[in-house]
C-alpha cells in the first residue's frame, strides 16, 4: 500500500541514495513548476500520502515555500541549505558546521574505500548527529574480494559505536543499528509503499529511475498512477528476499533492474553487502552485551554460514 510520495523539486535536487543526481543542471532551469507542485500535493492529500520534498542546493523562490508549507511533510536537503531540514544530505566529509548537524538525521553517500579513509569523520559525526545513514555508492562494483575489508571496516565502526554507547549516547547508524531492532523486512519500498513525482509531472518508482531514463515513468499527474506488475515489487513476490533475514537491506529495485534485469531479484553484490552489515550488527550486539549496554527492543540475530541467500535457492524448491 502506498504511504509516501517523494517530490523531486528540481533535476538538480540532491541525491540521498545509491543513484547519482545530475550535477550539471543549471540553477532553477529544471525546477518543478508551481502548478505541478500544487497538483502533486493535492494528489498526496487525496491518496493519504506523506510527502518528502527533495531539495536542490540553491534557495527556492519564496512562492514555493508557501505551497510546500500548505501540507505536513519532510524536507530532505543538501548541506548547503540546512535550514528547517528534517534530513541533511552531507555532500562532503568536512563541510558541515556543527550547528547544522547537531541532533540531526544525516545522510552521507560514499564509496567503501572513501568510508574506510574517513573513519575519524564518521566518529565525529556519530558524536553529533541523532542518526547517520551511510549510503554506499559503489555496491554495484563490490567484489567478493572486498568482503573481508568491508567486514573489518564494519566491525571497526561497531567498536566505535560501542565506545559511544558506553558514554550513554545512543546514536543510530543505519548500517549497524537498524537490524538490531527489526523482526521483519524494512526495505526501501519503491513502487510498493513509495512513489516519486519528478519535475516533469510524471511518476517514477524512485528518483533513480527518473534520473536514469525519464521515459521509465509509471503514470503522470494528468493520467494517474499506473504501476505495472506492482506485485513484483512486494516482498512476497521476491523469491530471494522473502527467504532472507538481512532485514535492514534497502532491497533496491533500481539496482536489481540494472544488475539482474528483473526488479524482484537482487544482485549478488547487494545480497553480500547487506549480509556483511547484518553480520556486523550481530557483532555489535555481542560487543554491547560484553559491555552491559542495553538498547530497547533489540532481538537476537542468528549466526548464518552464507553471505548470499541465493546460494540456498535449490532448497526452496
Amino acid at each position: 500500500m502506498l504511504q509516501y510520495l517523494i517530490i523531486i523539486l528540481d533535476d538538480a535536487s540532491v541525491s540521498y541514495c545509491h543513484y547519482d543526481a545530475p550535477s550539471d543542471s543549471p540553477k532553477g532551469e529544471s525546477l518543478i513548476s508551481l502548478e505541478t507542485l500544487q497538483a502533486g500535493i493535492v494528489f498526496a492529500m487525496k491518496e493519504n500520502l506523506n510527502i518528502q520534498f527533495v531539495y536542490p542546493s540553491y534557495a527556492l523562490p519564496a512562492e514555493y515555500a508557501e505551497v510546500i508549507e500548505s501540507i505536513d511533510h519532510t524536507k530532505i536537503k543538501p548541506d548547503a541549505q540546512t535550514k528547517e531540514a528534517d534530513v541533511v544530505v552531507l555532500t562532503a566529509w568536512q563541510t558541515q558546521k556543527a550547528e547544522d548537524v547537531e541532533g540531526a538525521t544525516c545522510i552521507i553517500r560514499t564509496s567503501c574505500q572513501e568510508l574506510s579513509e574517513h573513519q575519524e569523520q564518521v566518529k565525529a559525526l556519530l558524536n553529533k548527529v541523532a542518526r547517520l545513514n551511510i549510503v554506499l555508492t559503489d555496491v554495484e562494483s563490490f567484489k567478493d574480494a572486498d568482503a573481508d575489508n568491508y567486514k573489518s571496516l564494519l566491525e571497526t565502526l561497531a567498536d566505535m559505536l560501542t565506545e559511544i554507547f558506553k558514554t550513554g549516547r545512543m546514536v543510530q547508524l543505519n548500517l549497524l543499528t537498524d537490524r538490531l531492532q527489526l523482526t521483519q523486512m524494512n526495505n526501501c519500498g519503491a513502487g510498493d509503499t513509495t512513489v516519486t513525482l519528478a519535475p516533469n509531472g510524471k511518476f517514477y518508482l524512485c528518483p533513480a529511475f527518473y534520473h536514469d531514463d525519464p521515459s521509465q515513468h509509471v503514470g503522470s499527474l494528468e493520467d494517474g498512477l499506473d504501476i505495472k506488475n506492482r506485485q513484483l515489487l512486494r516482498l512476497d513476490h521476491a523469491p530471494i528476499c522473502r527467504h532472507c533475514d538481512a532485514f535492514q537491506c534497502k532491497r533496491c529495485i533500481w539496482m536489481n533492474s540494472r544488475l539482474t534485469l528483473d526488479a524482484n531479484t537482487p544482485s549478488h553484490q547487494q545480497c553480500m553487502v547487506a549480509h556483511l552489515e547484518r553480520n556486523a550488527s550481530r557483532y555489535l550486539l555481542a560487543k554491547m552485551a560484553e559491555q552491559g549496554i542495553r538498547m530497547s527492543d533489540t532481538h537476537d540475530i542468528p549466526e548464518i554460514n552464507y553471505l548470499d541467500p541465493f546460494t540456498n535457492y535449490k532448497q526452496w524448491k
Partner: protein, 418 residues
Amino acid sequence: MDTLDIQDHSNSWQEGRAKSITFIVTKDCQLACKYCYLVGKNTKERMSWEVAKKAIDYILDKEEEFKEESVIWDFIGGEPFLEIDLVDRICDYLKTEMYRRNHHWFNSYRFSFSTNGINYHTEKVQKFIEKNRNHLSIGITIDGTQRKHDLNRIWKTPEMEQGIAPKPEDERGSYNDVVKNIPLWLEQFPGASTKVTISSADLPYIKESVLHLYSLGIKEVNINCVFEDVWKEDDDMLFEQQLMELADAIIDRKLYEDHTCSFFMEHIGKPMNRERDNQNWCGAGMMLAVDAAGMFYPCTRFAQYSLRNKQAWIIGDIHNGIDKNKLRPFLTLDRTTQSTEECITCEVASGCAWCQGENFDAADTHTVYQRSTAICRMHKARVRANNYYWNKLFRKLELENQREEFERQKANVREPKC
C-alpha cells in the same frame, strides 16, 4: 552367447540431468513459416568458426561451473543444416576437446538438431550422421498432411527478405521436399518423434495431420499450440472438436497401443498444490544459448531474433563470460510467483504450459515473472478433450479386459518441455 548388446530406451535423454547448450549457427532458413516465432531471421548472422571455438573453449574451461552430469549440444537456426560444414567442425572439436581435457561430459553427451528436413538427404548431412550416429538426436518438423504443412511451412522468396509478402498464389509449400526424407530419417532413427505447432489457422487440420504422421511411420507426435496471443473467438471450441475426433480415431483404430500424441496426457487438467507443485515449467536459465555475435542467452527465445517487443536478454558473451547476476531471476523462478491468483487456483491447472521467452516478450515490464495467459482457453479445451479421451479409452479397455495390460505396457511418455 555371442555379443552383448545394449539399448537406450529413454525417451528424453538424461532429462533433468543434462545441460543444454545451443549454438544458433545461423539465423537463415530456406522456409518462412508463418507461425515462426523467429521474427528477426536473416541471411547475415552466420556463426563463424572463431566465435564457435571461443564459446566452446569458454564453456569447457569452466567445468567447475557446469556441473551437470551430461550435456546436450544443441544446434538451431534458422535451419542448422544450412551450416553443416561449421556444425561438423564444431562437433569434431567438441569431441576432441572433451576427450583431451578429460572433461566429464565426454562420457555423456549428445548432439541435437531441430531441422526442417529439407537438406537431410544431402551427402554432407548424411556423412555427418554416419560419423556421429551414436550421439545424435535429430527432429524433423513435418506438420501433418500436405495442406496443413503447406499452409504455414512455405518456401522463402527473395522478396520476403525485403519484407514483401508473397501473393497467396505464389506461396510454395515445402511438404514434398520434406516428406521424401522421412523414410530415411525413420530408418536411421526408428524411435524419432516430430514436433507439430498449432496456430489458429491450423485448427481444422489437427486430426488429419496427427493421423497422417502416424501413417508415415512416426509413432510419437509432440504437438502444442503456440504460446503467442493469436487465438480467435471460438478457436477453443474448434480445437476441442478436433481433439475429440482425433481421440475417437486413435481409440477406434487401436492406435494407442503403439502411438502417442502429446495432446493426450493422463495427468493433465488437475488442480495444483500451491506449495508442493511450485516448480517452474520451462528450463530457461538452466540452458545456455550462443549466437553468431558470441552473445550468451538463457535460451534461444531471449535472443533478439526471437523477440517482438523487448530487447534481447543477454547474460554475457564469449569474451567476458557469463554475468551470473543476469541468471538469478531464472534460477529462482517458481510457478506461483509468476502466476496470477486465477492460474494458481485454477481447477485444471496441471499441464498448462508456458514459455519463459514468450512471457518476457509479452510482459508489461522487463521481467520473466509475468506469466502470459494467452493459452488459457486452449488449455481448457485440451483438458476437456483429454478427459474424454481417457474416459473413453479406459472404459473400452475395461470392457475388453485390457486395462491392466495397457497400464503395464503404457509408453513412458513425458510432457514435452522446451
